[in-house]
């Protein structure tokens, strides 16, 4: 048996023993997703226990170094962990912008003290992060941001407004792009700073969306004091990190095209919804559309795998994050649209226990934002055309 085979066996045994049965069922509603943080209300003991057990092994951030609380797994081991979790349909123990975004940026660009201060708390799910990027006047043209940070020797004073801040009203800390040099060319005067959301001068207002939910907020920053040791990387060099994070974000949002662990596949959902006739989905036109989606989804999943394999082998063209973001989000929108169609009028029930308070149509409407947030599909296509195809 190779080391990896042994790792797989150990992982399988450990998951079998430690993943509560309730955490191996598909997630049905918003509260089933565990975000952690000071304000988070666990929806069940099982949800809390699952987070604690995984966090204790560092498996909420499997590939981070052990010294910062991570799992210290190699890429191959991480892949095995993902496969073994998918095998038992385990829910992700933690959904976290800390793990997905700011953590990797701190690991790559942050000082040693920032790493020690922030990373372990992210792994344990104790601090929930939000992202202060977009502004009312800076959407697709992100580098046009106007929130300014004035230099007061040992600290900055930040003033401005952010928008589309995911879960700002529930988050504990923000990573925020601010303009630290108003005279520099637009990309050159930006810094990435971190601050606690309870700092005086920070206030949030949820934005109600077409889904009826309010996952995003406006965030107002009035004379907010930010210590200088909370700058990630160099002052005025934040755009480099912002681009790195955007790449991460694109890959993450693009990942939505894939069927996540604990999620029913679209073909299974389709069979549940309209049934089979002689081994084929009972509705011929829906079947053709579901098949087209399933083909594209599998091809997309294999592409994500190939891009990783090529990166490991030192091959690959780069810039693939724009392609993954574009394709993955368009796929997810198609999936949601098909799910509504497959359920017919039941798919549009908005209120009531039986429909989990309209979980399906709300998710469908939420998906419309996938191809807007983190850079619109049109921006991704621009990036591909310009950076890969040299069309300009």
């Amino acid at each position: 048996m190779t080391d990896l085979d042994a790792f797989r066996q150990e992982t399988r045994d450990w998951l079998e023993e430690n993943c509560p049965p309730a955490m191996r069922t598909p997630m049905k509603q918003e509260g089933d997703q565990c975000w952690g943080g000071r304000n988070f209300q666990f929806s069940s003991d099982d949800q809390r226990i699952w987070l604690e057990r995984m966090a204790a092994r560092g498996w909420t951030a499997p590939d981070w170094p052990r010294e910062y609380g991570g799992g210290g797994l190699s890429q191959a081991e991480h892949k095995i962990l993902r496969e073994e979790m998918a095998r038992i349909r385990a829910r992700p123990p933690l959904s976290s912008f800390g793990v997905w975004m700011i953590g990797p940026a701190i690991l790559k660009f942050g000082s040693e003290s920032l790493k020690r201060q922030h990373l372990p708390a992210i792994v344990r799910g104790e601090i929930r992060w939000c992202q202060g990027y977009s502004e009312p006047g800076a959407g697709s043209d992100l580098a046009g941001l106007q929130t300014r940070a004035e230099d007061h020797d040992d600290h900055f004073v930040v003033n401005g407004q952010k928008i589309w801040t995911s879960y700002a009203d529930q988050a504990d800390w923000m990573f925020c792009l601010v303009r630290t040099d108003p005279d520099a060319r637009k990309q050159l005067g930006i810094s990435l700073v971190l601050f606690d959301m309870t700092t005086p001068g920070v206030s949030t207002r949820p934005i109600k969306l077409i889904s009826g939910n309010s996952p995003f907020c406006e965030t107002f920053l009035d004379d907010v004091r930010v210590e200088k040791d909370q700058v990630v990387g160099e002052i005025n060099q934040g755009w480099t990190i912002a681009k790195y994070l955007l790449t991460h974000e694109r890959e993450m949002i693009g990942g939505m095209g894939r069927t996540a662990a604990g999620q029913q596949t679209l073909p299974d959902f389709a069979v549940d919804s309209v049934g089979l006739e002689n081994g084929r989905l009972a509705d011929g036109l829906l079947r053709a559309e579901v098949a087209r989606w399933a083909i594209d989804a599998k091809a997309f999943e294999l592409t994500a795998e190939r891009v990783l394999d090529e990166a490991k082998a030192g091959q690959g063209v780069g810039h693939t994050s724009a392609m993954l973001k574009y394709y993955g989000t368009e796929l997810n929108k198609r999936r949601q649209e098909l799910m509504i169609a497959l359920r017919g009028s039941d798919g549009l029930v908005w209120e009531g226990e039986a429909s989990h308070h309209g979980a399906l149509p709300r998710m469908w409407l939420r998906s419309k934002g996938n191809s807007i947030e983190g850079g619109t599909s049109e921006i991704q296509l621009n990036v591909i055309a310009r950076n890969i195809l040299a069309l300009q």
Binding site: G279, A291, E305, D309, L381, L391
Partner: protein
């Protein structure tokens, strides 16, 4: 599962194939064969050179004179042949026939034919289809057991390179009253046998797919290839091998068509600027780029699955062929549209690309056939 990257040996084969097809079988060669109404439909000198390079024996094991480089190895050849629209019997003889003989042949049959296929001296092809739209189990050709042999009657179509094949492998129904994929057997037939009529059909891509009529064709018992009535799993595997290579050919063809189109967008000026500066064209090009990235992944995955004998190989092959067909159709259509009037001229190569694409798409099942098969294999 192996990683989705080529290993060193496969990379070397890819590089060799890239050089070889570019230098020895460029698009202009196909144009020449078409314009001279070449009787063979491919360059026999090219085929000889391909055999010298070892290409013809890629899927054949070393025991029978091949290189045993497998499906991933063969895929590298098809991708490059696709880029150059190179015509040769590589598909009919070295994929379909070689795979059938390797799977079903007796030791004697293998020794008689596989080394000769690998050396390029023997061209063998496979006759399955009887319908214009691929339906491999819709077989009405019959083979009746009659005093120490068989009498075969029926019609076949879409027999690739049938007009120049030295041997035909024919699928026929041997069990009276059997249906669908049951009761099918394979026979090796010499096209010179009494009652065999081979009609060359020149296709839109200037290549060949013969119609074959079998009228009371008598063969001996030893013409039987594999077990009586049990051809189904063999044919299924052979069609998988064939479709994976056709997907690889479509990938190469699509990549070449796309790259030529992008180059044109970078150079062609209208309104005083290059047309590649127009966002309406940029976004369509970027979309095609994304789709092609998906095709690269599914083609490699299918080839790897075949080499590893993966249990889900059939589904992965249908995935690869379906996606490759869909994207080849998109890219070749856009190639013409984006080249404007020039794309409509025979002098320009766009027409050759779109014609070859459509023929390969139909061969052994198009997008719709494979989407249906993919869905069935996934329980819907």
């Amino acid at each position: 599962m192996a990683a989705l990257v080529l290993n060193e040996e496969q990379n070397m084969l890819r590089d060799a194939a890239q050089r070889f097809f570019r230098e020895n079988a460029p698009v202009s060669q196909l144009r020449g064969l078409r314009d001279t109404r070449d009787e063979t439909g491919f360059s026999t000198e090219l085929w000889h050179n391909m055999a010298q390079m070892g290409f013809a024996g890629t899927l054949i094991s070393e025991d029978f004179g091949g290189s045993g480089f497998g499906h991933v190895g063969m895929g590298q050849l098809f991708e490059q042949a696709g880029r150059n629209l190179s015509a040769s019997p590589l598909f009919s003889s070295s994929v379909l026939a070689a795979a059938t003989l390797s799977l079903a042949g007796s030791d004697e049959q293998k020794r008689a034919m596989l080394p000769a296929i690998a050396s390029g001296n023997l061209i063998v092809t496979l006759a399955i289809d009887e319908k214009a739209r691929h339906q491999p189990w819709s077989i009405n050709t019959t083979a009746q057991n009659l005093d120490g042999g068989f009498v075969i009657n029926g019609h076949k179509c879409s027999v690739v390179d049938g007009h120049v094949a030295d041997k035909l492998i024919v699928a026929a129904r041997t069990s009276i009253g059997s249906q669908d994929s049951d009761g099918i057997s394979l026979f090796v037939i010499d096209p010179g046998t009494d009652g065999v009529r081979v009609e060359r059909t020149i296709m839109a891509d200037s290549r060949n797919a013969a119609r074959i009529t079998l009228d009371h064709v008598r063969v001996d018992d030893d013409a039987l290839l594999g077990e009586l009535n049990q051809a189904h799993p063999v044919v299924e595997s052979v069609l998988n091998a064939g479709n994976a290579q056709l997907a690889a050919e479509l990938l190469g063809l699509s990549l070449e068509a796309f790259e030529r189109t992008v180059s044109f967008l970078q150079e062609r000026k209208q309104f005083g600027v290059v047309i590649g500066s127009f966002q309406a064209l940029q976004h369509r090009a970027a979309h095609m780029f994304s789709e092609l990235e998906l095709v690269k992944s599914v083609v490699l995955k299918a080839l790897v699955a075949l080499d590893e004998g993966a249990p889900d190989a059939s589904a992965l092959v249908s995935l690869a062929k379906a996606k490759a067909c869909e994207v080849a159709e998109l890219v070749t259509n856009e190639m013409i549209q984006m080249h404007g009037g020039m794309g409509m001229t025979d002098e320009f190569d766009a027409g050759l690309f779109i014609k070859r694409a459509r023929v390969v798409q139909q061969l052994l099942g198009d997008y719709r056939y494979h989407a249906d098969r993919f869905a069935l294999l996934h329980g819907f």
